[in-house]
Assembly symmetry: D3
Homo-oligomer: 249 residues x 6
């Protein structure tokens, strides 16, 4: 039995509010249980130096937590003067995951930066950031498409992410913070709408895991991600069908 009474294969309540920022080209507030992340997508009509003159766009992400997003206050990275390894790892993951479902050629020479700012943290901030940032990205592309004619719709598939873990030999979906801290195995899974893996990061720091456990964890993740993608479709409404369509507009 889980602290909050959930089944082992049950997500926490998910709420997504679109348009929470009046300046950003795309924005959502995503809440998964008590974890709350503001995701904004900012479009710039230029690409970073290493992408120049390739006729392609770029997607990048930044991640941060407010100092009091957690039980006790953390020092600000800006005050310390550098990003922690954890932050760098997470923002590299978010950017990489999003790029896997974007046709950079179709996007054209522009950069979309996804900012994931964790307002409150209760486990799963990186997976929640990916699920939310994907939506902010879609909203920004849709806004862009009112001015720009894409040769094809640049987003090729849905993308969402969830954590799974093993607690006292029981595989479970979507760990809250207190669960995460007692899990012997912890895995973050990113999948597409077509049910394929984009990222798989499993860690057995406290105890290694077997192929059988891996299998059960992936099963749980697939279920959770399917639910999250259904939520994403609801938020997108009519625009939901554009993704992966690739049709010329």
């Amino acid at each position: 039995m889980r602290t909050d009474g959930r089944q082992t294969n049950e997500l926490r309540p998910v709420t997504i509010t679109a348009g929470v920022n009046k300046y950003a080209e795309g924005s959502v507030l995503i809440e998964v249980g008590e974890t709350k992340v503001i995701c904004t997508a900012s479009v710039e009509e230029r690409v970073p130096p290493f992408m120049k003159n390739q006729g392609k766009g770029w997607i990048t992400a930044e991640y941060s937590m407010l100092p009091r997003a957690t039980h006790s206050r953390n020092h600000r990275e800006a005050a310390k003067g550098k990003l922690t390894g954890r932050t760098m790892e997470i923002q590299r993951l978010i950017g990489r995951a999003l790029r896997s479902v974007v046709d950079l050629q179709a996007l054209g020479e522009r950069t979309i930066t996804l900012d994931c700012d964790v307002i409150q943290a209760d486990g799963g901030t990186r997976t929640t950031s990916i699920t939310g940032a994907f939506l902010a990205l879609c909203l920004a592309v849709n806004k862009l498409s009112t001015n720009v004619t894409f040769t094809k719709y640049p987003i090729t598939d849905y993308l969402a992410s969830v954590s799974v873990g093993v607690i006292q030999d029981q595989p479970m979906l979507d760990l809250a913070y207190d669960e995460d801290s007692k899990a012997k195995v912890d895995m973050n899974v990113v999948m597409t709408g077509s049910g394929q893996f984009v990222e798989l990061q499993g860690t057995g720091e406290d105890a290694p895991f077997s192929r059988k456990e891996l299998s059960e964890l992936l099963e749980l993740a697939e279920g959770g991600i399917a639910e999250l993608i259904a939520k994403q479709r609801e938020v997108l409404g009519e625009a939901a069908g554009l993704i992966g369509g690739g049709a010329e507009k």
Copy 2:
């Protein structure tokens, strides 16, 4: 006539939501027009090295804007590896202003850190941060007082802040961003509940100002701050009377 139809002595709509963070000892979301700031108060049972062994507490503040709080995206200070001069100036101002209404002796050897994170910026982020942070501080002190017996209530007076400026020779209260950018004089005023000045920062970069203009600006600020303090009292409810009371509990 102002862009949004306000009178020259009229504040933008002010909304304050208390308790927006489940971990912080005190927290509010303060909205002044389209400017939105999350203020959290975090209590630690120790003081910084320079305050050690004095039997006193400490109040400090940090200020930050989300990258897309503004029209175009700003680089994160954490990514740049240092705070801008503007940020340092603002957080020093917030801390100094709050300390002016706290009896550090009465607070005892603990530190309260006020984090002011600007979610969306439309002018007046520093004054809004002060008005909100004061409330977060009160909420944290009230929460503390359920466990700690203060010799006297450590908050000695109300505190709020507003900006004023001169636009085309017309003094105006509470400038929104588009007004601020065309003001020839820009002044931030911090006042107490007893109507005295705590901070006065006026700048005439584009044109200097006379004592008469100063007088008119201060008049406007006094009116605005009185309104803001009335809002603060509403939020505090029954606890409103404790401030400045100084009575032993």
Copy 3:
């Protein structure tokens, strides 16, 4: 009665020595009591990136104290690897104040950097820096004008600065360090030759102040600044009349 026997409305002795640096386009050593600041003006025939292609010039300032300018030695900011908030705040103030009396269009596409290096500090280093830097700026513009034909003289008015404060309920002019440390209100005032305010920064960290006190403080500041500008005129000699003249040369 003040420690050094001054009247409440009396400046400390002011000595200004021009031409103290053989390389700088303009330079002064300004001494106000025991506070000593070397101000140099350096001209470069280019503007910073954000001012490019506007046909305008730029004025900027940097401020620093030698490590042993003060009673006990301070760590060098260069060794610590970053500027303190205090330094940033002061150098932003100096630059902003000077720009208020420069016609950047008339200056043309060049940058003048004012370096204010405090050799010895005894209160009022930021106000003394402004008063001295204004002169170094004038000297540099005068030197420039031997090679460059300005469409009009780029300096539009005199500029000087002084501190005022309230000590034991008595407003006083030009606080020395030991006075400053016991003042309940501390205010820095920057004014033009025509008697208008450019910057007003008042802080009542230890106790707030009333409008009446503010009035008395501004009175004192006006008197002190008029005296400082008289000193500036003496240093400039024949060139004193050029300022604000705006006549084509």
Copy 4:
């Protein structure tokens, strides 16, 4: 057919030289094909602050590449003044993986730091670092055990790592650099001597992957890691049996 003629399930030639550093408590030079890494283990009789007074030890790792370890020269991180996200990610991974097979209680209050310095890089530097660092760690523990009586042998299992990937729909073991750069899926696997997973990091940036592909990749990894552990046993010689024995000495 692979560039170097290997089978899809074939490791590159592996050479391990122990004792390459006369000061380090444990050291190896590990060569996997043209990838060469010096791994040293340094023992200190103290633990980092966050581990104090727990009666436990700590294992940590650092990773770096010589500037010309790669085809074209990279800037030194020391000269740039900060670690890249990639470096942080890798050294966090190495430390976490090694800790999974160390009984920190049995190790006692000491820290072992594993430095993995890549002398030449041709793909798989992070996996090679793990395989080599594990050995340097064993050598250091063995050296320690001549002076210290452990209650049980602190290393609980073997540990090695290898990369696998999918190139043109063909899963392959141990990718060299030119293979890695054209792989659509790239996965790093860390396993124990008992055949369980410690870390699984799979990325399908260029194309997502299916559960079937995952299965084939894990198969290949299991084979490669078994071979690497056999090599480790050879290097350890008689001491090979101590690992996981846990017997009191």
Copy 5:
């Protein structure tokens, strides 16, 4: 013939003014031609961590140039956020040289920091800093000795420094900036009052030099340093005899 008409073995005019800083325990302004350096000595009653509990003192030095000490303005190291290699090299040299004539045991557990701030630079700033810093150190020790009873006088010998160089095959003493920039060999020499070498740093970047040239350069340096030490004796006056005396006071 030298630009300024000096003989090849002639120093530039040397002026030393003691007591230029009202707070520092020792201070001088040293001028060698147009090179001007303020040297202050600051005493602290503690030693750095690596010198703790050895019953000894420590001498250290810092060096900096004002931004406009030179022909064209240099960026401040504090603004760049790090010291240049040149600065580090110079301040290490100054500290090492001074320590060679101090009996750290006799000094007792205190630190004296010598700050050498170059107000104007015209060649020889590092050698001028050493000559001046030695005096500031003596003045501080003499001031200390009014409160502290040293077992023996802690300064064991005089110390001064001068540059020499080869210009168009002619060895010359005390190079000014324009000479230095055309010298093919450049050497900084630090010597004691007893005529021995403490530091010798010769560089033939543009052309190597022979032992004969070296001999002639050292001859010149010996002459110049003897003159500088005579100047130091004048400044110290009656206290000149204490140095190297070592007698108990």
Copy 6:
């Protein structure tokens, strides 16, 4: 008698292995006793900004020690976020010394960077780096010359370096670490094949030294450097004669 039984004028065993890095244009592993340094030369077809448009090339060097190159582990400079003064001093020395024997005009507009990475340190790492880096540079120039026609061979003379010192009044050649730490005088000498000095850095921190001692030290250095240059010639083989030839190819 020296710890390792050497004569006072005897070098430690010197071994030089060329071609240790498969990517670098030139590379050697140089071992002098237990001191081991990997030197690589990297060629880039561009020059740093300050050398642009002069028709000349540039030679620069970087120096680093692996964390466990020494008896006890040192913190990585990359982790600390800055280079130590010692590192900066050494890499400036290496670059300057190498440039003294390169005709930058003849080299053409390209940069050669010499990386000296100390794998194991037992005294003399900076002198060993210079001796090794010179060879890596020659190898890179020789490799370049297969594609580029130099107007003349850009390396004008041989270059090597050795340390000397005085231990218990006895001048000695090539100090190992334990000797270095008890030497009262420590000197690094860089000389050309024609027997002239390029750099001379002598320090008598613990006791100053006389001209006679200096003479004896230089004698020893000359002998040692002649031997090192003989070793360099062996490594270069047929290409040995090109150096200083200056003949058009």
